[in-house]
Symmetry: C2
Subunit: 147 residues, 2 copies
């Protein structure tokens, strides 16, 4: 079962409709296979189906996040990025000064989260970890300047 099929299935399981727009958005996300902003995704989706609007992209991302098949992520910057959770779980190391970001493949967390969820009656479906610091380049320069 491909990533796209898995994602469509999650929509079906939730009783939601598989529309042409949703299909295009999901296929594009799967092809890009990296953290993308809503704006980047919109552009890529429109290259495929020009009439899709911004609202649909935001609405679909919202649904996919609720279903936990897409992870939303801030990466210390202004706009949120999105990635299919099936694209593989990873975390980030973010430089507080220049915002350079490095992917960390190993998961720093796992069992701990379920215990936390149980404590509050939550069904835990995912987690986000971002580690902040100063990158090698920025350590040598003034603490506030943007490299």
């Amino acid at each position: 079962m491909t990533t796209v099929e898995q994602t469509l299935q999650a929509l079906r399981d939730a009783g939601l409709k598989i529309t042409a727009s949703r299909r295009a958005i999901i296929e594009t996300l799967a092809e890009m296979n990296r953290h993308v902003t809503a704006a980047e995704l919109l552009e890529a989706v429109q290259a495929r189906v020009p009439e899709i609007g911004k609202a649909s992209v935001y609405r679909t991302l919202d649904v996919l996040v609720r279903l936990n098949v897409v992870q939303a992520c801030t990466l210390g910057s202004t706009s949120t990025t999105y990635i299919l959770t099936t694209a593989g779980h990873h975390h980030h190391l973010v430089c507080l000064v220049c915002h350079r970001t490095i992917e960390i493949d190993e998961c720093l967390l796992d069992e701990a989260t379920e215990a936390i969820g149980r404590k509050f009656g939550f069904l835990v479906e995912g987690h986000l970890v971002e580690v902040y610091g100063k990158c090698p380049d920025c350590m040598q320069t003034s603490p506030t300047q943007t490299t």
Copy 2:
């Protein structure tokens, strides 16, 4: 040494100026002592010093984040929230459906982050953990409806 003094000292140490605006912003952050959006902070700061502008609030928050005396946090919603790191370290459990948020006092992570930093030459100064799932209320309702 109070939280406010510590924060002012961090500015001094970085060779930055202690202006009336920065002082007011920092004092307000310390008084609020919780996660606040830039807009909330602006309003609270203006109640104290009306002529302070929006740009100064954003600029000051930016500086404080770089110095790691303020933590920026997304909490699964649209706008970023800020909190003084001296206000105490904690994490969040966020409902993907209704965005209800619960604070977790115990830190799920600690030593692991430094090891990661070393590996990439980063000086680690903080981290963010958000655990996502479905809250007790939303488990009983449709997966996409906003409670």
